[in-house]
Structures are given as C-alpha cells and as structure tokens.
Symmetry: C2
Subunit: 169 residues, 2 copies
C-alpha cells in the first residue's frame, strides 16, 4: 500500500506504549500487531495467486480439504469443524463453488439431515493446479528461514492448543 515507511511502525507503537506507562504489555502488543500485519500481507499474496482460478482463500481451503478426503466427499458439518468456520460460511462457500461446478451437493446415504459436499472432476483439477501455484509462488518463497518456520509452527501450535482449537499434544 504505497511506498515503504522510513521506520517500522510497529516498533514505534511499541515505544509509544512504553512511553505511556504500558511497558508490561508493550511487547505482546507489538507481537500481536505484527501477526495482524503479516497475515494481511500473506493473505494478499495468496488471494493474488488464487484469483486466476476464480478462488478465494476460503473457497480454496474447502477445495483442498475435499481433495484430501479419501472419498473426495465430506459432510457440511465436518467441513465446518475442520476448517473452524461458521456453518453459514460453509454454506456460502459451497454455494459459490457449486455455481462454478467445482463441487456438488448430494444427500447423505444414511442420515437424511446431512449434506455431502463432493469434488467434481474439474474441482479436483482446479484444486491441484491452485495448490501447485500456491506452493511455488507463496509457500515456496515465504520469506521465513527454515528455523523460523519451525519456530512459528511450535509457537502457534502451543497457542492454538491453549485457545481450544484441538486436544492432543
């Protein structure tokens, strides 16, 4: 968004916090602000790569999830739980993916309440291509060193478990 700033704005915010009597929380404030900004940068890169495929990140995640299911199909509520998003978000994403003919809805064989989402052939192809693009253009040049990548996985693994995302250790 425009030209680089002469100073790191988050480092400055940290100094502001310290200067105003919030020294005890200035560091975590800076860390959390940095997470927000980093996420924004990464999301922009990801969406940029996905745009040619007609996908957003939310829809890509659903597609990728389906592509790893043995049968290529998942119940709506399973997808909602695994992606950790609201059921209405899944409904929304499936609506759009279905319009794009990348997934189809089908009734569950035994439970009449649940709807299965299934990858179409084209959906599987698009998923593979989008994954290849993301891997080479984003994940393959993340800008994090190998050691730092493992640090991030460790730190956020602890955080997410403490936040109640999952149970195992």
């Amino acid at each position: 968004m425009g030209t680089p700033l002469p100073r790191d704005p988050i480092a400055e915010a940290r100094r502001n916090w310290e200067r105003h009597g919030w020294s005890d929380v200035a560091a975590p404030m800076a860390a959390i602000t940095a997470i927000m900004r980093t996420q924004q940068i990464l999301l922009a890169r990801i969406e940029n790569v996905l745009k040619p495929f007609g996908l957003t990140f939310a829809r890509y995640e659903l597609l990728a999830l389906l592509s790893f299911a043995r049968s290529g199909a998942l119940p709506m509520n399973k997808a909602s739980a695994l992606l950790q998003v609201h059921p209405t978000s899944v409904t929304n994403a499936v609506d759009r993916l279905e319009k794009a003919a990348l997934v189809t809805r089908s009734p569950h064989p035994t439970d009449g309440r649940t709807t299965l989402i299934e990858l179409t052939a084209e959906g599987r192809t698009v998923s593979k291509r989008a994954t290849a693009a993301l891997n080479s253009e984003v994940f393959g040049q993340s800008g994090f060193s190998e050691d730092d990548v493992e640090e991030l996985i460790r730190i956020f693994g602890i955080f997410r478990r403490n936040a109640g995302d999952f149970d195992d250790g």
Copy 2:
C-alpha cells in the same frame, strides 16, 4: 467455533502435503496456515473487547494512532500510510468515528487538498479506556511466553521489512 478437534488440523495438513509430494513446502504451508488461524483467534478476542466501546479493530487503530500524535491530529493520507490501509478504508473509518463524535474533520491550514482528522475529547477518553481494556484483557494475557513474544517480533520484523513495509534495519 464448536468443540476442540481430537487432532491438530494444521499438523494433519502438513502430513497431507508431505504425503502428496510437497514435502519441500509442507512446513512453510503449515506455518502460514497457523498464522492465519492465530490471527483469526486474536482478532475475535480483540473485537470482543472493543465491542462495548462501539469500536472495531480498524477504528480502534485509527483512534490509537491519533492519540499518539502530539497535536492529536493527522492528515488522512498520513493515517493511510501509517496504518497501511487503502485511503477509502480511512474515509470509511473516519465517517463512522465522526458519526460517533470521536473524531472531527478539519481543513489543513496551508494545503487545501488535505483533510485533518482530530480526536475529540470523548475520542481521547474512549481511546484511553479501550486501550486499557485491550492491554489487560488481550495483550496482558496473550498466551505467548516472553521469549516467544520476542521471537515473533524478530521473525515478523524481518518478514515485514522484506515485504517492503519499511526501510530501516
């Protein structure tokens, strides 16, 4: 969003990537996915704390930025640059903050093109209270160890500089 999963879904995604021939980028993929998820959790906590103040995170950030300006006022484009958001996003945020009587717009004394955003007395009060609430309820219990906080600041500092956010080192 529902009950904890029995397994870490990001660790599982990493294994899926490795199993499908993407071993070389499985780790950064997992790290980036963890960043996305962590940001989501933190943003939800922040918005939850800010809701009683009638603020969103975007509006809070603008308020906090103004509260640290010596004069309590900033040009729109300066705010846009420092917050690293689109000018229309600033217009939008200022519109709402102005309706809430937390900021006012005033003409720049010498440059007729630019608009100054200024904190009202109430805006300053709300900013202080919201900051206190965030500090005690979010930043003060971030769930990251002190060492990990410094690690995050370091890692994301490098990342953001490489991404072109700022110039200094």
